[in-house]
Each structure stands twice: as structure tokens, then as C-alpha cells.
């Protein structure tokens, strides 16, 4: 399925084992679906949770990386001599250091060097040091003298293909041929339309900005390397580090128990892993290397900017006749999917027989893009959902009604594969009802400078089905307490808690008697990175299979001891009871067989997804905003998210994902933009949290309603869950933009809707009006 490549291994997966016991769909649940505080809440609020940046090892050094200050340059000469004599410095590396003679790839399409002579973006690694303190390491960076040949830059995606634009790669600045998708005949579709609207939109680049900085601690024990890394996937990091250092996987252990956020920017390894490993080997001491916040703004990924021309045709009755989209997205200095998936909603969200999408990915002299919470989708939604709103206004139809009329039953973007479930219609209708959409729309915007308006938008997410591979092990101890072992990271979504709830559901073991160990390539099972809203639908069926395997063995043991047939027994609340005679029972802790064995082990794997179905989450979001026509300020007053993500596993962490996705979407809509100096230097001018403004508590409403449209997807997997983390942020920004339009009559096509952007538009509208 398109989109999965970001999170799974490439290519088809050999048949995976089904994981033992056959899992029937849950009809009722006792633990799953309730509101459960996290099983690791204590560690996270007490300060005892050890994040990778907290790791302090005996005799540890601190590493730092010198980065190219130019967007495009050749490194002519690096003079390390004076850096070596800075107090506390223990190792210095640059491109010609034999230890640093290593390959690197941003994507597998282009191989480069760890310290490459060509820097294609500001922030590319040029040299590195290790010193006794981080302050001394920074001193040493300042002492390194580098001679650059500064080359011309191009930082805007719209300029990259201009004939006079400097060439970043040998073959030019276009990454491959444009990707063209067609179905039907758009020319015919437009000719059948009563109304055709066309507009060009742009979303600014966003920076992931997880609160824990990117970085790691590396330590060698002879030939074996251990890395404590803040990552969404310990296994992808292990694979890349081992392959680039050319050592066996068995000699690289990656540990990432806690991690402070990633949002797609921590799915795999970075250059800093290799740098830390080389510095640690060179000095025979552990090395801690964490980037500064300013570095993370430049070189660990971004949501790439997108320019989107969209044209749509609609009949008076609301039938969509044609959709045509041209996307230009920027990968940055190396191919990184700059235009990837921006057109997916145009292909798949609404019923439309005639669609054409052309996506062009270009190179610019900026940091390479990385997957960022629903890659492509919020950008595409910004365009599509504003345009659909405009169509509704044009034909005098309610925007909710127009969308409901065009809800598809089949995934048109996948050659009409049926969805395993789709709750899009319910999201739209139930969301509108709960929000009070119709009443709110009728309300006048107000007479003072503050004008009110409501807006809504819908979305789907290309992935969110999860899938193999995944292996999970559940161990039941002699006293009836359990241990769950999985390789997946808990990136803050509550993965550990959800999986413990699945074990509690099947075995009746209370949550406080379940220990979860995870995210360690040395001690836990293989898992793909946590991303793509696939972690719960991937790991929860595997966990359930493991728990059911434990249950099967426990019931066998109990049957022997109670001298009853297995079919007559059930396990609930930690007690095996006869269905016929409830007096015949045995608590787990009293099972002699379990006591003698010490442990019962169940291995579960993730079974394959059905081949003939498309499994996707859906969403509709509604908001009310207030816009000050004198100052251009926008305040979001309330939000409601109706989400179909299949079964709700933990209502408390579910709601948290919803409010988090909306908060991030408000950032895209109102405050966040990477700003580059395109005129003079090509350098970043928004490299900190004052100049790049993340939403704070004052920027988001306390009034956010999470309305799950709960349709357990039993055809998709054995827990019926679909992904949640990304769909919650897909329609958000577009809903805000539509509400701003409702309040002011001004259509803001470029993100973010800052006062500086909005005020001239309001002034222009006043002049026209």
C-alpha cells in the first residue's frame, strides 16, 4: 500500500506465522476501551524515567558537530590543529580523518560521505570533536578553521526548476520524473461541471521540534557497540548503524526505553550516531552527543513546503465531477519524498470519477525532509478542504452536506478496493450534531472588531492499518503476574499501556501486575519503528496472540489439575473457573503446574492484513474561531474531533492523541513556518522557539472535544483498532482556515495565518467590499 514504505521494510513480506491461538473478535471488553492512566506515569512524573539525554556514564566524554554555515558550499580545507589544543579536547575528526571515512545516505538513492566535501544545506556536518565537557567541545568547534567555496543557493521550491537556478545535483534539481496519477478524464469532468474553482495554495515548511533534542550516547565494549538513543525505532537505528559501520547486527545494541517525542524525525539513524560511535572508539570512552536546538532546526528533518494548484468541478447538486492537482514539494538537499502523499486526499477522500494529480519533487539547498506526522496529508488537506469549502459556498450547499454526499464506499485511490470499515459519514454527521454546526453557522459574526466563525474539514490517512512484522512475548509468572516483551517504542502515545491492557483483557491480570519491557534490540523482540499511526494496530494483535497462547497453556494446566475438559474452563480476573460449576476454580497463583514451571511463555506475531481490503482511519473536525479585524489575531475558541480509528483501546490516551493532534494542527494553521533568507544568504532565520513559534497553552483552546466514532474493524485485525496519531492532525489546519473565512470572508491560501499575512488580506477585502 502506498505510504507504508515510510514505516515498514520495502518489498513484500514472506508469510508470517499466525501466532498460535485463533483470536475471535471481542464482543465485550472489560479493560480495553476504559480510561487508564499510563502504566509508566509514575516514572514520567517523578523524574525517574531515564531518557537517552539523561544517561550519564562513568568516564563519559561529550561530542559536538561543526556544521556548515552556508546553504551550499564546498569544503576546501579543514584545519583542526588549534582545536586539538583546546583544554579538555580528546578527539577531533573531519573529512580526511581515516576513522571518519564512512559512507552515509539520506535516502538509499544517493550515497554520500559522513563528512562530505559538498554541503547541500546549512547545517551539514563538517567536523566533530569529543571533550571532557560539552562547553569545552563547543570551544573546540569554534577553534576549527574551515575554508569554504561558497556556492549559489536556491531555497524556494517554486524557484528550484527555474532555468537560472543553481544546480544542486548532477542531474538537475528535479528528483526523478513527476509522479502522475490519473483516473477518468478530467477535461470531460470539468466540462460536465456547473461550477469550476481553481486556486493555488502553499503550506510553509514545519520543524518537528520534539522536546527531547536529537542525540545519543555511544559506548564500545571491545567490538560491541551500545547506543542509548532517543528514537521511534531501535531496530531501524541498529540496522543502519551496523550496515554503515560494517559490523554485525549482533554487535550493535540500541536502547530507547523512554524518548521525548519524534513526530517522524526520529524514525531511523542520523549522522550523529556514526559520529558518536567513531569518537567513542577513537577515545575508548563513552561519548554523549546531543544536538543543540538550533541544530535540530537545520538538519534533522522537516515537513517540506508544498505549493499546490488545485482545480475542482462540481454540479449544482453537489456531485464532484473532476479534481486536478499539481504539487511541487521540496525534498531539500537530497531526495527525501518532498512531494510525497500530498495528493493522497485528492485521490481517495471523496467520490470523484475524474482525477489527475501531478507531483514534482525538487531539490533545494535546505535540510532534507523527513516524515512528519501524516506526511503530505495536512498539506493536501489545506488545499482540498479549503477548495471543497469554496465549492459549497459557490453552489449554496452546507459544507458538511457536500462532503456527506461525496463519501466513497471504496478506496478509489487503490483501484476501488473496499475499505474494511469507513466511518467518514458518521464522523461528518455525528461531529456536526455534537458541535452544533448548523446553529453555529447561522450565528452572526459579531459587530466589534472580533468576528466569530465556524469551520470544518475532513480527512483520511493512507496508512494506519499496521501490519507484520512484529513479535511479542508474554510471560506469566508463578504468582500470576505478567511480563510483556516487545521491541516497539512508546513515543508518547501510550503504547506500553495499551498493550498491557490487552494482556489484562485476555488474562485477567491487573495492570499494576504487568511489567512491560520494550525498545531494546538487546533484550526485546523485533519491531518496526513507531510511526505512521501503525503501532497500536501492529502490536496489539501480536500482543493479543501472545496472551492467548499463554491462556491456552494455562487452561491446559488447569484442566489437568481440576480434571475437567479444557472447553469447560474459562480464565477471568486471574482465576480459572468451570463454566458448569463455578465452585470448581483455581486462581493462577495456585496452579501447581505453573509454580513448578516457574513461567508460561506465549509468543505472538502479527498476522498479515487481508489482501482485498483497505484499512484506513477517517476524521471530521469542527472549530470556532474569533478573528480581530484590526490586529489580524486569530483565536481558536473550541474544537471538536470526530475520529474513526476503529476500536478505542484506552479512552484516556485516545483523547490525549486527539488534543495533541489538534494542537499541532493549530500550529500549522496559525504560527509555524520555517523562514529562510531567500534574498541574500539562503540561511535559516527562524532557528529557535522565539522565531519559530510552537503553540503554547495560550494558543489553543482548553475546550477540545474528542468524539470517537467507534467502529471496531474486525476484518482488519484481531483487536479491531486502526491508527489514530496522524489522522487527528490532518484536517485541523484546513478547518481553522475555513473558520477564518467564515468569520471574515477572507480566504487565506498560504500557511500560517499570521497577523502579518492576514491584515493586508483583510484590508484588501475592505477595499473591494
Amino acid at each position: 500500500m502506498r505510504g507504508d514504505g515510510l514505516y515498514f521494510v520495502e518489498g513484500a513480506l514472506p508469510e508470517t506465522p499466525t501466532g498460535g491461538a485463533q483470536a475471535e473478535a471481542w464482543q465485550t471488553t472489560r479493560v480495553v476501551g476504559t480510561r487508564q492512566p499510563r502504566i509508566d506515569a509514575y516514572e514520567r512524573v517523578s523524574g525517574t524515567a531515564v531518557y537517552p539525554s539523561d544517561v550519564v556514564l562513568p568516564d563519559m566524554l561529550y561530542g559536538a558537530i561543526l556544521r556548515c554555515p552556508h546553504p551550499h558550499a564546498k569544503v576546501k580545507k579543514v584545519d583542526l590543529a588549534s582545536a586539538r589544543s583546546v583544554p579538555g579536547v580528546r578527539a577531533v575528526l573531519a573529512g580526511d580523518s581515516p576513522e571518519a571515512d564512512l559512507r552515509w545516505y539520506y535516502t538509499r538513492q544517493v550515497f554520500t560521505r559522513l563528512f562530505d566535501a559538498t554541503c547541500r544545506f546549512e547545517g551539514e556536518a563538517v567536523a566533530a570533536v569529543a571533550a571532557e565537557t560539552p562547553q569545552q567541545a563547543r570551544d573546540a568547534l569554534r577553534a576549527i578553521r574551515v575554508e569554504y567555496e561558497v556556492l549559489p543557493f536556491v531555497v524556494e521550491e517554486g524557484r528550484a526548476l527555474a532555468s537560472d537556478a543553481p544546480k544542486i545535483a548532477e542531474g538537475g534539481n528535479r528528483v526523478g520524473e513527476p509522479e502522475v496519477y490519473t483516473r477518468g478524464d478530467v477535461a470531460k469532468g470539468f466540462s460536465e461541471a456547473d461550477t469550476v474553482v481553481e486556486r493555488t495554495y502553499r503550506t510553509a515548511a514545519e520543524i518537528h521540534s520534539p522536546m527531547e533534542l536529537h542525540g545519543c550516547v555511544a559506548r564500545w565494549d571491545g567490538p560491541k557497540l551500545t547506543i542509548w538513543e532517543t528514537t521511534q525505532g531501535v531496530y531501524p537505528v541498529q540496522q543502519r548503524v551496523a550496515s554503515l559501520l560494517d559490523i554485525p547486527l549482533s554487535r550493535v545494541r540500541v536502547i530507547g526505553h523512554y524518548m521525548g517525542g519524534g513526530f517522524g524525525s526520529k524514525l531511523s539513524a542520523d549522522k550523529y550516531h556514526l559520529v558518536a560511535a567513531v569518537l567513542a572508539r577513537l577515545t575508548a570512552r563513552p561519548v554523549k552527543l546531543f544536538l543543540s536546538r538550533e541544530e535540530t532546526f537545520r538538519c534533522v528533518g522537516n515537513r517540506p513546503p508544498a505549493t499546490m494548484r488545485l482545480k475542482a468541478g462540481v454540479k449544482k447538486d453537489g456531485t464532484l465531477t473532476a479534481l486536478e492537482m499539481d504539487v511541487v514539494g521540496a525534498s531539500g538537499g537530497y531526495p527525501a519524498g518532498g512531494a510525497s502523499l500530498v495528493d493522497w486526499l485528492v485521490r481517495d477522500l471523496y467520490l470523484c470519477p475524474n482525477v489527475k494529480c501531478t507531483s514534482t519533487d525538487v531539490l533545494t539547498t535546505t535540510g532534507p525532509a523527513r516524515a512528519f506526522r501524516a506526511p503530505g496529508h495536512p498539506q493536501g488537506a489545506w488545499a482540498l478542504e479549503q477548495l471543497v469549502d469554496e465549492l459549497a459556498t459557490a453552489i449554496g450547499m452546507d459544507p458538511v452536506a457536500l462532503r456527506v454526499k461525496n463519501v466513497p464506499a471504496l478506496s478509489q485511490g487503490r483501484d476501488d478496493l473496499p475499505y474494511s470499515t469507513t466511518g467518514l459519514k458518521q464522523c461528518l454527521e455525528e461531529g456536526a450534531r455534537a458541535f452544533g454546526w448548523e446553529e453555529a453557522r447561522r450565528r452572526a459574526p459579531g459587530r466589534g472588531p472580533w468576528k466569530r466563525g465556524v469551520g470544518m474539514a475532513a480527512g483520511t490517512w493512507v496508512a494506519g492499518a499496521g501490519g507484520p512484522p512484529s513479535t511479542v512475548i508474554v510471560k506469566l509468572g508463578a504468582d500470576g503476574s505478567a511480563n510483556l516483551n516487545m521491541g516497539a517504542s512508546d513515543i508518547g502515545t501510550g503504547t506500553k499501556t495499551v498493550m498491557a491492557m490487552v494482556v489484562a483483557e485476555e488474562l485477567g491480570v491487573p495492570l499494576d501486575r504487568i511489567h512491560v519491557e520494550h525498545a531494546d534490540t538487546g533484550t526485546t523482540q523485533y519491531a518496526t519503528a513507531s510511526g505512521g499511526s501503525k503501532t497500536v494496530p501492529t502490536e496489539s494483535p501480536a500482543t493479543r496472540a501472545a496472551a492467548l497462547e499463554v491462556k491456552r497453556q494455562v487452561l491446559d494446566l488447569a484442566a489437568e489439575e481440576l480434571k475437567l475438559p479444557v472447553a469447560e474452563l474459562r480464565l477471568q480476573d486471574g482465576v480459572v473457573t468451570s463454566l458448569k460449576d463455578p465452585a470448581l476454580k483455581k486462581p493462577l497463583a495456585e496452579l501447581g503446574g505453573l509454580r513448578r514451571r516457574g513461567v508460561v511463555v506465549g509468543v505472538g506475531t502479527r498476522a498479515p492484513n487481508p489482501e482485498d481490503l483497505a484499512t484506513c482511519p477517517f476524521a471530521a473536525q469542527f472549530c470556532e474561531v474569533e478573528v480581530n479585524e484590526r490586529t489580524g489575531e486569530v483565536r481558536v475558541l473550541r474544537f471538536l474531533a470526530a475520529q474513526d480509528s476503529g476500536r478505542v483501546m484506552n479512552r484516556l490516551t485516545y483523547d490525549n492523541q486527539v488534543i495533541g493532534g489538534i494542537t499541532m494542527g493549530i500550529g500549522l494553521a496559525l504560527t509555524e513556518a520555517r523562514v529562510l533568507d531567500g534574498a541574500q544568504t539562503g540561511r535559516l532565520v527562524s532557528g529557535n522557539f522565539h522565531d519559530y513559534k510552537l503553540p503554547t497553552m495560550l494558543d489553543v483552546p482548553a475546550d477540545i472535544t474528542s468524539l470517537p466514532v467507534e467502529l471496531p474493524d474486525h476484518r482488519a485485525n484481531s483487536t479491531g483498532a486502526k491508527g489514530l496519531g496522524e489522522p487527528v492532525t490532518i484536517p485541523t489546519a484546513a478547518a481553522v482556515a475555513n473558520a477564518v473565512f467564515a468569520a471574515t470572508g477572507v480566504r487565506v491560501t498560504d500557511s500560517p495565518i499570521s497577523p502579518a499575512r492576514l491584515l493586508p488580506l483583510l484590508a484588501a477585502a475592505r477595499k473591494e467590499g
Binding site: S46, G47, P87, P134, P210, E212, G260, R293, I659
Partner: protein, 204 residues
């Protein structure tokens, strides 16, 4: 229009300006004990002898004048509850209490913190028991990845020490110097309001 018209002019930037002078503020908070006064001029590479009182315990240390309180807490004292998020007074992950008032530890030099009571998230614990603010954050799921959480908790603790029964807007304003990229703000508001109740009710 809502009732927070009065606070509209107080932006996050304004709040940060207040907090951002943490270092100067700390120095001005009270008289520094004369016997511990640092020498007027230090040579490059000189280490200062300081005594830091953290969570009621005194630590005698040699520090470089440029070391921040955050660096000393995390990398020298093993108190890693306080987090490094930006190291320039913008995100609040490093928030600690200095004499009961929230301060950004990344903007406070270790040498300046001498002579003051420093409280970190570890200091809110009663043995192995969570304090009321910590308990409320756990119950209300007022975090996701948890990295900004110790800073949020210390900001809340400082707010509630100064304003035991804050209104909704006071909570939003008081917590606005702490960024949560996971975006758990709506739960954080609930947790702070719950914590106010827990603290008033004697706490635990």
C-alpha cells in the same frame, strides 16, 4: 467576549521576558552569603567553589563560571528530572523552583544559584510517594512523551504556591512559559486544577 480581555496583552513573549531574566533575578533575590562570594575576577579555566542547596541537601562542587544550574543538576548531580529542551530560555523543560519561584535552570548560572533553595521535580516526592501535582498529572494523563513534564510540574507547583486557587485563565497564563510539543495542554489545565484541590485538601 470572554473574561480574559485583561490578560490578552500578556503574550508568551512577555512572560518569557519575565522568566528569561532568571539569572539576574536569582542574583537579586536575596543577599548572597559573604563567605561564599565568588572572587571578583576569575582566570580562564578557573573553577569556582560553590555550595548548592538542592531539595534540602547541600552539594559542594567546583564549577566553571559558565556552567548553568541545569548542566550541574543533570550532568554533575545526577538529578536528571530537569530536562534540557532549548538551553536558551524558550521552552521551560528545565523549570525548577528557586526560593519557591519557577525559574529556567538553563538561564541560571550554577554560581548564581548559591545561597538559594533549589527545588527540582525529584524534590516534590515524599519518599517514593508522588506529590499532589505529580499525582494530578498522572491521573489526568497530562503528558504524552513526558519530556516537558517535569518542567510543567514545577511551573504548576510554583503557580500553586503563589496562587493556591487559580482561575482557568490564571492557569493558562501561569503555564504558558512551558511548551508541550505533544500538545497535551488541555489535559495539563485539568491536572493543574485538580492539583490545586489536592494541595488544599492537605495533599496526598
Amino acid at each position: 467576549m470572554s473574561d480574559d480581555n485583561v490578560t490578552r496583552h500578556l503574550t508568551r513573549r512577555g512572560f518569557l521576558t519575565t522568566v528569561g531574566v532568571g539569572a539576574a533575578g536569582v542574583a537579586a533575590l536575596g543577599p548572597t552569603p559573604a563567605e561564599a562570594a565568588p572572587p571578583a575576577v576569575t582566570e580562564e579555566g578557573d573553577m569556582l567553589r560553590v555550595v548548592l542547596k538542592v531539595n534540602g541537601r547541600e552539594h559542594r562542587l567546583l564549577v566553571e563560571p559558565r556552567w548553568t544550574l541545569l548542566f550541574v543538576l543533570r550532568e554533575r548531580l545526577g538529578l536528571t528530572g530537569s530536562k534540557a529542551g532549548c538551553e536558551r530560555g524558550e521552552c521551560g523543560a528545565c523549570t525548577v523552583l528557586v526560593d519557591g519561584v519557577p525559574r529556567y535552570a538553563c538561564m541560571t548560572l550554577a554560581a548564581e544559584a548559591q545561597g538559594h533553595e533549589i527545588t527540582t521535580v525529584e524534590g516534590l516526592m515524599d519518599g517514593e510517594q508522588l506529590g499532589p501535582v505529580q499525582k494530578a498529572f498522572a491521573e489526568h494523563d497530562a503528558f504524552q512523551c513526558g519530556y516537558c513534564t517535569p518542567g510543567q510540574i514545577m511551573a504548576a507547583e510554583g503557580l500553586l504556591r503563589a496562587t493556591p486557587a487559580p482561575g482557568r485563565e490564571e492557569v493558562r497564563l501561569g503555564m504558558s512559559g512551558n511548551i508541550c510539543r505533544c500538545g497535551a495542554y488541555a489535559h495539563i489545565v485539568q491536572a493543574v486544577e485538580k492539583a490545586a484541590g489536592l494541595r488544599q485538601g492537605g495533599g496526598r
